[in-house]
Amino acid sequence: MTRTESFVLGLRSVMPLLLGVAPFGVIYGVVALQSGIPPLVAMAMSSIVFAGSAQFLLAQLVGAGAPLLLTAGAVGLVNLRHALYSASVAPMLAHLPRRWKILLAYLLTDEAYAAAIPHLIAVKPNSSQSALAHWILFGSGFGLWAGWQLATLAGVLIGTQLPSNLGLDFALPLTFIAIVVPMIASRALLAAAVTAGAVAVALAAMPYKVGLFIAALAGLVVGAALTRKAKK
């Protein structure tokens, strides 16, 4: 695969997720304006913070007049799971210059990671492919970034006249299913999925999506524990 082919593969893989993300971007734009955030700031937030659920939270907390420390702490908690993605892709990006690492870290959202990871895993370490694999992540990251900016802009410009729920957001869980299910190739992986899903549902009421992070951790631990047992 060439550089361009890798980039296009990432870009293509993120498209179905964009279908689900775009309505959220539009709604974010509307919610931000309703919270008294000026249009320019609402737009800038989409490129400076660039994290869907954190931006919603930010808009709400700003609207409620919450103090800076609390708001920043809440945003940190909501985005905590991204540290897992960081750990997951870190070995594959180790050979890159710092400017690439910074760029890809900035673009490392749920969707960009989800779209790229099956392709990244398929690349053999230290092969000729692995030298260009980061272009896949760049493709998915850039695609999501551009779509998010456009959706936010649409929300800020056209606002409330949009039909509120077309059901397009269902594209997100469906695409995640399309990504995750084919990856479940062992009992340990299945156990990790079931654990993470069950804990996430059980802890869904926890504030700032902390339950999601704990659920993912629980899945990792159960999966790793089972592989260890199987090897003994």
């Binding site: 700003v62 594209a171 992986l189």
Partner: protein, 103 residues
């Protein structure tokens, strides 16, 4: 409170979380158990994101006909397991949702 400052702080925090392990790679020696967790990150994290979307309706677990997204999701899971095709999975899920919402 200055909105720009708040935004900048939140941007730095978000970037810091995403950059953390990518930046540290090569500068520390993670314990072996840590490396063993990593293959499970995609499946654990993405299932944690997905399961509540399918099972919860306004924060309550719903297993019946009042929750078409659950059944449409199950259709998508079966299609994904059988054909391993992204567009087919998404299409079948949307089609199932469309049909279930109308019966």
């Amino acid at each position: 409170m200055n909105l720009w400052w708040l935004m900048l702080v939140c941007g730095v925090i978000t970037f810091g979380i995403r950059y953390s392990f990518i930046a540290a790679e090569g500068h520390y020696q993670p314990p072996t158990w840590f490396r063993r967790l990593l293959p499970f990150v995609p499946i654990a994290a993405l299932t944690a994101l997905t399961a509540p979307e399918l099972l919860l309706v306004q924060g309550e677990i719903m297993f019946d006909g009042g929750n078409p997204r659950l059944w449409a999701g199950l259709v998508a899971i079966i299609v994904a397991a059988l054909w391993r095709n992204t567009l087919l999975t998404i299409g079948s899920g949307f089609l199932a949702l469309f049909v279930l919402q109308r019966i």
